[in-house]
């Protein structure tokens, strides 16, 4: 019986969102992180999460759901608020 523990996943998404708000993806820069890069990142992250396994909660899903939650939090944070905050840095 797989018991999905939602608490760490929700906190990982919130934590990733906080850091993701600082990621400016729409800069006119040469790092070329386009939609294809994001899809490749998600596929790579799912493979990594499968490799990590049931970490850190050992009776959870077979993949590292906290890791995937953090990745999605980062992407959502950067898509919603990244680049819009006016910083003095």
């Amino acid at each position: 019986m797989v018991a999905l523990v939602l608490g760490p996943i929700v906190i990982a998404v919130i934590f990733g969102f906080i850091v993701g708000t600082r990621i400016h993806l729409n800069l006119e820069n040469s790092f070329k992180f386009t939609i294809s890069g994001i899809i490749a990142l998600i596929i790579g992250a799912i493979l990594m999460a499968y490799g990590i396994g049931q970490f850190p909660v050992y009776n959870d899903l077979a993949i590292a759901a906290t890791f995937l939650g953090a990745i999605f939090g980062l992407l959502i944070g950067s898509a919603l608020l990244g680049g819009r905050a006016k910083g003095d840095h």
Binding site: L6, N29, K32, F33, G37, A40, A45, P56, H89
Partner: protein, 168 residues
């Protein structure tokens, strides 16, 4: 840089395209691994400091490769000071909650091992996990955020100083 001294072009103004394309996805992965380390700190090796250092590693990686002005991971002075102050306050308040309720600073009021606080208050501070570790994961999160902004601030400040020194 002294005139007449030869230096490779890739090291002069800009990073290599391979580095520029690969750094941001790798920084994403490093940050997510750091968050996972922080959130597993109460049951696995690692914790707030280690996870925060991993996240700061991702930010520092971007600062080194893209330069401090063009990095996609920008931490403003306001963001750093606000986060640093808030998480320090959260840590102290969690400690003071234990002091106020039981007389011991940083008593684990969420875990409530000795039954010193009422169950209703313990339920508020309980961590939604199978281990029910109480306030320990929250302290890990506070330390992680503090280390993340602290280490990043050091490297950003050094990069700015280096840039100022080169301009003079």
């Amino acid at each position: 840089m002294a005139e007449g001294k030869k230096s490779p072009n890739w090291n002069k103004d800009d990073s290599s395209p391979i580095l520029k394309i690969m750094t941001l996805p790798i920084a994403f992965i490093m940050i997510a691994l750091g968050i996972m380390t922080i959130l597993g700190g109460h049951i696995t090796p690692g914790g707030g400091f280690q996870g925060g250092a991993m996240i700061a590693g991702g930010i520092i990686f971007c600062v080194i490769v893209y330069g401090v002005d063009d990095t996609p991971l920008k931490l403003s002075h306001r963001f750093i000071s606000t986060l640093e102050s808030l998480v320090a306050l959260a840590y102290v308040l969690l400690g003071l909650a234990g002091l106020a309720l039981t007389g011991s600073f940083l008593y684990n009021i969420g875990g409530n091992l000795y039954g010193a606080v009422p169950q209703a208050i313990a339920a508020i501070f309980s961590y939604p996990d199978v281990t029910h570790a109480g306030i320990v994961p929250y302290l890990n999160i506070a330390v992680g955020l503090k280390v993340l902004v602290g280490l990043s601030a050091i490297v950003i400040a050094f990069s700015k100083f280096k840039k100022l020194a080169e301009e003079e």
